[in-house]
């Protein structure tokens, strides 16, 4: 997946990490230590962990601010409305973790979220950072779990680096390798339990977080990715790259959601295009690239308000055009996952 330097001797070779062309390659130390010869054991460990998770969905966009976290949160809410469906939402946006706020869990430290984090592993957690990064405080999970605070809902669990930060001003100033380590820990060391859906919300881009998520879940079979865009070309331009990324790393694409499609004035009810689809919007892009358009969600000011209050927009404004659009999209995603049921032997028997 990563680009190797020209003349790379090969990660399994005796020269791995030692050749002249290895200088400056990000994997040099790893190769020189002999680790490159074997795949990361975490991949198998995560595969084992994920056996109790029926469906894994990535929510992606090349572009920032198009509504990935908003969509991920409401996908989770929508799926969890059926109390028999176990859902978890994993936020791997390490620098800008929005999910706690959108889910109404701001101020909750991870200890408050009950059994999702019941794990025997003691985490090492970093607080406010500047390079180089040193791990400082430890969290003793067994003690913290006794706090007994409420969950979001009994069947909806959430994990985010936001929960591990003690102040809203704490900045996570980490380079790639450390972000990757956190993502590995999230996937491997959190006790996800038996889940119908694991939704992974990502930051914008096609970099460390995305590569790591795909790499660590490579043996665990991702159902696919939902890609979010807004109608303008500035967004589509980045989204096409994200689609290419999915093709490159062989992640199936469930479909594209166009957010902020059209604005209906609450006073005169007339429509305006705040983000004009100067090149035809997601519809034309999806036709060109032969990818399903899962739906278009109008720009409804209530969505932003609900997110700021940490409430589900689907329950705040259930009859709104935007809520109806969301529900239809969620249904299509469920249908996609239903058609791609994992074989029985991959599920942990009762």
């Amino acid at each position: 997946m990563e680009e190797v330097p020209q003349g790379c001797p090969g990660t399994g070779s005796a020269q791995a990490g030692r050749g002249a062309s290895c200088q400056g390659c990000p994997n040099q130390r790893l190769c020189a230590s002999g680790a490159g010869a074997a795949p990361d054991p975490a991949i198998e460990e995560i595969k084992e962990k994920m056996k109790t998770v029926k469906h894994k969905i990535l929510v992606l966009s090349g572009k920032g601010g198009v509504g990935k976290s908003t969509f991920s949160a409401h996908l989770a809410h929508g799926l969890a409305e059926d109390e028999n469906t176990q859902v978890a939402l994993l936020d791997i946006d390490i620098c800008g973790p929005s999910i706690p706020k959108i889910m109404g869990l701001e101020g909750e430290q991870a200890c408050a979220l009950g059994h999702v984090f019941r794990t025997d592993t003691v985490w090492a957690c970093s607080t406010v950072l500047s390079p180089p990064v040193y791990l400082s405080a430890s969290i003793d999970w067994a003690t913290l779990l006794d706090s007994g605070t409420q969950f979001v809902e009994d069947n909806l669990g959430v994990m985010s680096v936001g929960f591990l930060l003690s102040s809203p001003d704490d900045a996570v100033i980490w380079r790639g390798p450390k972000k990757n380590g956190m993502i590995k820990q999230f996937l491997r060391d959190v006790d996800w339990g038996e889940l119908d859906y694991l939704i992974v919300d990502t930051p914008p881009g096609t970099s460390d977080e995305h590569l790591s998520a795909v790499q660590y879940l490579s043996a665990a079979r991702l159902d696919g990715a939902v890609i979010i865009t807004t109608p303008q070309e500035v967004s589509l331009q980045d989204v096409r790259k994200e689609i290419n990324f999915c093709h490159k790393v062989k992640v199936p694409i469930i479909g594209v959601v166009e957010n902020m499609s059209v604005f209906v004035c609450p006073k005169c009810k007339k429509e305006s295009q705040i983000f004009p689809p100067t090149t035809g919007g997601a519809e034309v892009m999806c036709q060109d690239l032969k990818i399903p358009l899962l739906g278009k969600v109008p720009l409804d000011p209530h969505i932003g308000k609900s997110c700021d209050k940490g409430q589900s927009f689907l329950t705040d404004a259930p009859a709104s055009a935007a809520a109806l659009a969301y529900r239809s999209i969620i249904q299509r995603i469920q249908e996609f996952c239903g058609h791609h049921q994992p074989k029985e032997e991959h599920l942990v028997g009762s």
């Binding site: 601010g65 198009v66 380079r175 914008p204 007339k270 305006s272």
Partner: protein, 272 residues
């Protein structure tokens, strides 16, 4: 070909360096960078734009420079001039891609290396302002840009948010980053501050309200103003037009001009 380390070299002729940052994606960093560059040009300044968003390089399109080629000279890469008068120059990974849909799927170390090159190996020449557009976050690109630019400091920063609490939440962390890395925050810009319906002139707070002022209050940083949503601005950026020249009547124009004025009077200047 190895870049000479301590030489002032390619940034010797740059008077002010300003980073445009946000913890949050999609708030309008590239928009503000572009409009600021256009406004500074209209004020008679020579401006360079360094686009260090390697995964989502938006600036070339916003200045109608997509597909342009980057040439070499003795001092390194020649930045792309987006206008005849050569008053705005630009460097972006967008110019180095074989196709516009090509994804830059790089991990941190490789991104850091390119950003260092963009700083030290581009022949920026004489500039009044170098505006550095960044991707969202507080990670590799930001650290690499600050580290590479720091020898040419002091560095100023413009921080962009939308009115929503979700945005403020991320941008507070960005302000911590600025504090920790010694960036002097010139001010906070609130973008997407409301939409005036063209049919009935009712103003709707599409993305909530109050975030920019609240952030300024919380952090003691100057609030530079609110830029409302204007589809003409969005369209103008899509088409690579000069919004400052073409749409002085737009509701977004006063805020954008006032931001430029603030930068002109406040951006920390390098000691010669």
């Amino acid at each position: 070909e190895a870049a000479e380390a301590a030489e002032p070299g390619n940034l010797a002729g740059v008077r002010h360096i300003l980073l445009v940052l946000s913890g949050k994606g999609g708030v309008g960093k590239s928009t503000i960078s572009t409009e600021l560059a256009l406004a500074l040009r209209h004020a008679g300044k020579k401006v360079g734009i360094l686009d260090v968003d390697l995964c989502g390089p938006s600036i070339p399109r916003m200045l109608r420079a997509q597909g342009r080629a980057v040439h070499q000279c003795d001092s390194g890469w020649v930045p792309v001039f987006v206008d005849q008068e050569q008053s705005i120059s630009l460097m972006s990974v967008g110019f180095l891609l074989e196709s516009p849909d090509e994804a830059v799927v790089w991990r941190g170390p490789k991104k850091n290396a390119l950003i260092k090159q963009f700083v030290s190996d581009v022949a920026w020449g004489q500039l009044d302002y170098l505006v550095v557009d960044t991707p969202p976050g507080t990670s590799d690109e930001h650290m690499a840009a600050v580290e590479a630019l720091r020898p040419y400091g002091p560095l100023g920063a413009l921080v962009v948010t939308t009115p929503q609490a979700v945005s403020v939440g991320d941008v507070r962390r960005e302000l911590t980053f600025c504090r920790k890395t010694g960036l002097q925050v010139v001010g906070i810009v609130e973008n997407m501050s409301g939409f005036v319906c063209p049919h009935c002139t009712e103003c709707t707070n599409v993305f909530s309200r109050g975030g920019g002022a609240e952030l300024a209050r919380l952090t003691g940083v100057p609030f530079l103003g609110s830029v409302p949503l204007d589809p003409e601005l969005t369209r103008s950026l899509e088409e690579g037009r000069d919004f400052i020249r073409d749409f002085p009547q737009s509701p977004a124009f006063p805020a954008l001009s006032s931001i430029a004025q603030k930068v002109l009077s406040e951006a920390p200047a390098r000691l010669s």
